[in-house]
């Protein structure tokens, strides 16, 4: 089990990096850019085998940031390629991330319908 303080440190540092990217670059970085950047970089690092050691060290501190979602997609894909070959390259990602994606769509839709934006 990962200790709580490791998750706190890991998650805090990943968010700190995002904040510095937003504050120190001249370009107008929106939350959307941060999300796309994190999932992509997490997926690339995972493909290179560099993200799993981070997950082993800080647990939810690495899986809860969106880079962990990219890691989940890539690890699912790699596992499926081992068992199914080429088909796995296209099916493994969604299979691994199915719960997260479905929850995001369903809970997101329900919340958006039930609540109204405040001004």
């Amino acid at each position: 089990m990962t200790p709580l303080y490791m998750a706190f440190l890991g998650g805090g540092l990943l968010c700190l990096i995002g904040q510095l990217i937003m504050d120190l670059t001249k370009a107008n970085i929106t939350p959307g850019h941060i999300l796309v950047g994190y999932i992509s970089i997490g997926a690339v690092l995972s493909g290179l085998g560099l993200y799993q050691p981070l997950v082993d060290a800080v647990g939810a501190g690495a899986t809860i940031p969106l880079s962990g979602f990219g890691h989940l997609l890539v690890q699912g894909t790699l596992k499926a390629v081992e068992s199914k070959g080429l088909l796995g390259a296209f099916s493994g990602g969604v299979e691994a991330a199915a719960a997260g994606i479905t929850c995001a769509i369903v809970f997101g839709y329900v919340a958006a319908v039930l609540f109204n934006p405040r001004d």
């Binding site: 968010c15 493909g47 809970f107 997101g108």
Partner: protein, 154 residues
Amino acid sequence: MNVDAKQMKKIEMQEYQNLVDQIKPKPDILKNSIWAFMVGGLICGFAQVLVNYLLSLGMSRIDASSAVSCIMIFLAAFFTGIGVYDELGKRAGAGSIVPITGFANAIVASAMEYKREGYIFGVGARIFSVAGPTLVFGFAVAVVVGLIKVFLSS
């Protein structure tokens, strides 16, 4: 336009830009960083408490991680709906964007705004205005990594 007028215009533009730079609020980098670190850390720490609890119930590591993602997404969707998450986001910045709760927040916040366009092509479509690009790039990288592995192992 003669050369003088052109030069004048250039100077005016430069002065205007200087004025904009003066007035534009400079981000307080240290304060923003501390907020992002604390809030991001607390969100991940809370998630770790849930993961450890599910593991102690005998759930597998992968299932516990998925279940906690779902719980965090649910909580973020709810707190975005009642308007709390965006208040937090004003201070926490990346601390509330980078965790998966920020992904759920982006989904609900953009979908809510377009309710007047209807529940199908308003809310239903706008759910993906931020989530769409995120998933596109996540899947694209995952498929490329998968294909590289297929070719390396064949």
